[in-house]
Symmetry: C2
Subunit: 312 residues, 2 copies
DNA sequence: TGGCAGCCTTAATTTTTCTGACCCTAGATT
DNA sequence: AATCTAGGGTCAGAAAAATTAAGGCTGCCA
């Protein structure tokens, strides 16, 4: 029985984090995604934890896992502890790089909404470094190294704009349209993550036209480019295409617009101290000045509806 | 710019724990000891952390490290967060094994104080499993998997007994002693971690005798055994040798006793819920019934007092 | 019913982390 | 001054963790 060598290692931190994520999210796969590891790693961690505790934390069912009573008891404590750790990390990051702001957003938003505003933002806050990370899903801000999230969702708090959708196309193509029923004669481009867009819009019409399915894009910005090039019609999200409408690269050929229950939302899960860089950037983005001083459009269409340009 | 692969790994937990320990304990070596890793691992972790933050957390000096302002700001948050995590772990352990108590103690205390009480304790609490780990240093209970600590220290709260020291020896050897001055004629055994014992005791005498240095033991219990076998005189700690005195294996040949400012202390850094196994064991140990119904003992003079064999 | 997709598990390989033995520096000791 | 000691830092090799890829099980859907 040696006294020096045996190190009384406590429960491993990484395994506990895996447990907390799996318990909170209700599955190993979801936990793996949040933690940026593979499901196999989560399996191994939970198993190690259960072995060292001598009791199961999850009940394995054919369709995923379920927390045992023991796991249910433990979860709130760990969630609280890891939240505290996340806050400490955030504060440390902020203190180490006080003039840097990390923003997480959708690729489409990054390219079509954020990017056009960056030049003016750089002028407005020249000493602040802005780092933008494109993600498909909003991250858990309490656990991720981002200060702000900018995504579409249905929470009204912090909303920058509602999500208003309507068809858009290149001016040349619009000239060949006489009404919504003509849609079926042209390809309808769609985005993989917003595949319902066309149906949602069409339902709002008294006489829903047939939609000719066109190419699907995994990057909305790419679909926008293709539309500019005349590849067909695309459902435009007002927040994302207003720049293209403003300078005439795209037009909205029909008057019918649908406002979805979700909206473009900017938020933070940490308190933003007044005067902090993240607060400054968030405030500036909420005022959302789209720099382009271009004239409100152009429109070309059969029945040119309300000129599409919003006034700042 | 791939969107799927890049995993936005946050600050690594293990590195943060290393930082917290190093900052709290004031050095990488101390942190390494608490975490049960080598200093080299701490160095690497801190370096990784500082690299990913882009700012130093410690200022390296030739004699150790010093926290930077950044590090000082961050420390309290992390200490709090890891404390919360430690509490969560403790609760989880307790819930998973509700009738198990883990005690950390000195090897000497484990063998000479705790061990004799275990049989009665098992009778008193037959459903509780008691696990004893011998450590040279009291662990940080907020971070270690122990419910109770039992060590000598100078905090009065939770003290079970003062640390009273006085020479002890085998009865046969005591017969050859006529007074403290005879000490110099026999080897004086000592324990490596309590090397000052002899000096402390000798200073209390009006005419301090010379101490003939004898063998040094790294295990006090071994020194006690050797003393029983007649190898010489040893400074007895009352808490640890009362059993041997009670049954006559050892005697205290001199009346002079020194009470040190420290004492035997049982404590926990977590709240012990009433009715929990740890609370039951702690309460029982405080009542400290030493099973042997032997008479209170002895106190010695130069002429060996009690005959050597009482029977339990 | 048969294919398909979701979810967890497992085994073998690769990557990351830790160790162990060494060096370096500067204050304390002789 | 020379030596000792108590920190940290460094690097090759060993141990541990994550990945990749394959596999089982179930329910959904055509």
């Amino acid at each position: 029985m040696p006294v020096a060598p045996p190190r009384p290692k406590d429960l491993p931190l990484t395994a506990l984090r895996a447990f907390e994520a799996a318990a909170r999210l209700g599955g190993f796969a979801a936990a793996a995604q949040e933690l940026g590891v593979t499901p196999g790693a989560i399996t191994a961690h939970i198993k190690q934890l259960e072995h060292s505790l001598g009791a199961p934390l999850f009940a394995r069912t054919p369709r995923g896992v379920r927390l045992t009573t023991l796991g249910q008891q433990a979860l709130p404590n760990f969630t609280h502890a890891f939240d505290a750790l996340g806050t400490a990390i955030g504060d440390l990051r902020a203190a180490a790089a006080p003039r840097t702001v990390h923003i997480a957003t959708l690729p489409a938003i990054a390219q079509l909404w954020l990017s056009p505003r960056l030049p003016a933002l750089r002028v407005a806050a020249p000493d602040i470094t802005i780092s933008i990370t494109a993600l498909e899903q909003p991250p858990n801000l309490k656990r991720s190294p981002y200060d702000l999230s900018l995504f579409f969702d249905d929470t009204p708090q912090g909303r920058l704009a509602p999500d208003v959708i309507f068809p858009v196309c290149a001016p040349a193509l619009a000239a060949r349209l006489n009404g919504p029923q003509d849609i079926s004669r042209f390809p309808c481009l769609s985005d993989a993550t917003w595949s319902e867009d066309w149906a949602l819009w069409a339902q709002s019409l008294p006489d829903p036209p047939a939609i000719a399915r066109g190419p699907t894009f995994s990057l909305y910005a790419l679909a926008v480019e293709e539309t500019v090039n005349g590849a067909g019609l695309l459902i435009g999200h007002e927040s994302l295409v207003s720049g293209h409408l403003a300078d005439g690269r795209l037009v909205a050929p029909f008057a019918s617009r649908v406002t979805l229950p979700r909206g473009l939302r900017l938020w933070s899960d940490r308190p933003l101290r007044p005067g902090s860089a993240a607060r400054l950037i968030a405030d500036w983005l909420r005022r959302a000045p789209l720099a382009s001083p271009s004239p409100p459009v152009t429109q070309g269409a059969c029945k040119p509806p309300p000129p599409t340009a919003p006034a700042p």
